[in-house]
């Protein structure tokens, strides 16, 4: 039985996948690599079959990322689990370090680390996300913004048995949602070292930007319908809940402003308007608070980081 399972959900990206798989193998000892092919229509299947020593699962019908990751969770056998996107890279040895740390703290449910922003072909650039890694009870912080890079988080299988699998109805926010649910029950640990390299999305790859408006509305729905109904949030005081909503709103508003500016720079006014149209669904004071924070110089997160990717 392998100790750790790395779950890689992939869809029609055979040129990037082998690099991700190689990095996953080198990331630790006693690792099982589970590749879930989300009904790719190209040569992904052949590429995977040529690689030995991976647990290859092929979906016949496209389930989107969260659905495919869930299938990976079912197919995996490790006690510790982590996801890796098919275009990201795990750093060598990074997994062993996290496993060791998590072993020392049997109460903790999850450990995460930093991500290096890479360029479009996945080579490391200079800056790290998140700059500092809060630890312990981070439930309320996590409600405000997602500072956990998806591929950096390593969690115990038994966490899923108490919080459930990924929610496939919120594609793109599904990882954040899982972290929130885990953090609602378990203390979270972190290693303040880079563990993965993120590939930066470019406009042509259609990764983050085109969906900013959509993601924020999903996030708002999830915040209201699910997160605020978690036992932890329900028993909290009204004030705490309101503060969480404000922090969430502010970060989402910042994200939307940033994305809409980016869209405008690229000459896509329609996209820019669509991003701005979600703003009224957030707390009405969030725009004011952004200005306030800028003027007062209260240290805020780097603008594009609100959703934990860009």
């Amino acid at each position: 039985m392998p100790r750790t399972s790395i779950i890689i959900a992939t869809h029609s990206r055979p040129q990037l996948l082998p690099k991700a798989i190689e990095s996953a193998r080198a990331a630790g000892s006693d690792v099982e690599v589970v590749v879930v092919d989300d009904a790719s229509s190209d040569e992904t299947a052949n590429v995977c079959r040529s690689l030995s020593g991976i647990n290859y699962v092929r979906l016949d019908r496209n389930q989107r990322v969260a659905g495919a990751r869930n299938v990976g969770l079912v197919a995996s056998r490790g006690e510790y689990l982590t996801f890796l996107d098919d275009d990201d890279t795990r750093l060598p040895g990074s997994l062993d370090e996290q496993v060791e740390a998590l072993d020392r703290e049997p109460k903790a449910g999850m450990i995460y680390g930093q991500a290096i922003r890479g360029d479009e072909i996945g080579n490391a650039a200079q800056f790290l996300f998140p700059r500092t890694c809060p630890q312990g009870d981070i439930f309320w912080k996590l409600l405000g913004r997602n500072f956990i890079p998806c591929g950096s988080a390593l969690f115990r299988r038994r966490c899923l048995s108490s919080v459930g699998l990924l929610d496939s109805s919120v594609p793109g926010v599904d990882d954040w949602d899982l972290w929130v649910r885990i953090a609602g029950i378990y203390p979270i640990m972190a290693v303040e070292i880079p563990v993965i390299i993120w590939r930066r999305s470019n406009p042509a790859s259609g990764q983050g930007t085109s969906q900013a408006a959509n993601l924020v509305s999903l996030g708002v729905r999830q915040f209201r319908n699910c997160w605020m109904n978690l036992p932890r949030a329900r028993t909290a005081s009204k004030r705490t809940r309101r503060a969480a909503w404000r922090a969430f709103s502010e970060n989402m508003a910042e994200h939307l402003l940033w994305e809409s500016a980016r869209a405008l720079r690229r000459g896509r006014p329609g996209q820019s308007l669509r991003d701005l149209s979600v703003l009224p669904r957030l707390s009405p004071l969030s725009l004011m608070r952004i200005v306030e924070h800028r003027i007062l110089g209260v240290p805020q997160t780097g603008i594009p980081e609100a959703l934990g990717f860009v």
């Binding site: 092929r58 016949d60 079912v74 919080v163």
Partner: protein, 307 residues
């Protein structure tokens, strides 16, 4: 070596659960029983501690049946998966019989069987439901013309790895959704013997039928998604329209029929919900006088008894 994993999601029913667990145990050898406690707030946890040889998983937040079943699938080690509700029963030997049949037919995705209907005290009401066809049942399932319930069904675990897990957002119809998706690419086996006992809800037990109208309308809505499956797409718009029309009519008829039934039980709220539901689905169908024959008959019979 475990071959069959029986997944029993439970929520606040410690008085019924042990009976369901026992029935699953006698239904097969090489069976592992996984009880997923969907954030019960009563003494379910203690009751489960008293049950020997089960895998007990406790969810800290209520996820609903589908979410709990998914967690059960993740914890399962068997080759076949059976879902059982905490108030239903499996019949002795039924799992072994179905597993043997599945072993012989590796191309089959799931096997279903006859179901005995019972009242709240597990006394058979005399009704037995049996699926009317086997093999390729994709269109029957799509049309809601295939009586199948999870409690009489054994599913190959591989199906979940090829088609994805249950959809947590489909309250009450997650099983119909997954079985239809499985039937799209796998063949289906039927055992004619009864495999399980279904404890029929009454409107007052708050178990289901009070939401029947909502559930069937949800099914009607979700069918539009299922009609996007590749096989339905290939069948062409004409076939899809025909299927759609028949389903809507069937649902409207079912709602009116159970409105008539509810009338006898003096469940006026359920009756109204059902008739309104039928009208919303297909006003023309519900406006057909014949549809109310049963309702009128109930009314008449009741009057006759009254006088």
């Amino acid at each position: 070596m475990v071959t069959i994993s029986v997944i029993i999601p439970t929520h606040d029913r410690p008085h019924l659960l042990p009976r369901a667990v026992e029935s699953a145990r006698t239904a097969g050898s090489n069976v592992e029983i996984i009880v997923v406690d969907d954030a019960s707030t009563d003494d379910t946890a203690e009751v489960c501690r008293g049950l020997k040889n089960i895998t007990y998983v406790r969810l800290e937040r209520n996820l609903g049946v589908a979410g709990a079943r998914n967690v059960g699938i993740m914890n399962s080690t068997g080759k076949y998966i059976a879902f059982l509700d905490d108030d239903d029963l499996r019949l002795p030997g039924s799992l072994d019989a179905q597993a043997a049949l599945m072993d012989q037919n590796p191309e089959a995705g799931f096997v279903c069987g006859a179901m005995i209907m019972a009242d709240q005290e597990y006394q058979p009401t005399g009704e037995v439901f049996l699926p009317n066809s086997s093999g390729d049942v994709f269109w029957d399932l799509m049309e809601l013309d295939f009586p199948v319930m999870p409690l009489s069904t054994l599913i190959r675990k591989e199906c979940f790895l090829r088609l994805g897990l249950l959809n947590e957002k489909l309250l009450g119809i997650d099983d119909w959704d997954i079985l239809t998706r499985i039937a799209e690419i796998y063949s289906v086996l039927v055992v004619e013997e009864p495999m399980g006992v279904y404890r029929k809800p009454t409107p007052s037990s708050a178990q289901g039928s009070s939401w029947q109208s909502a559930q069937l309308r949800r099914a009607a809505r979700h069918q539009l998604q299922l009609l996007k499956l590749p096989r339905a797409r290939e069948a062409g718009p004409r076939k899809r329209r025909e299927i759609r029309r028949r389903t809507i009519n069937r649902i409207a008829d079912t709602l009116l029929w159970s409105a008539a039934h509810g009338f006898r039980l003096r469940e006026s709220r359920a009756v109204c919900a059902n008739i309104l539901g039928a009208l919303r689905l297909n006003p023309l169908r519900a406006a057909r006088p014949g549809a109310y024959k049963k309702l009128a008959k109930q009314l008449f019979v009741k009057r006759a008894i009254g006088t």
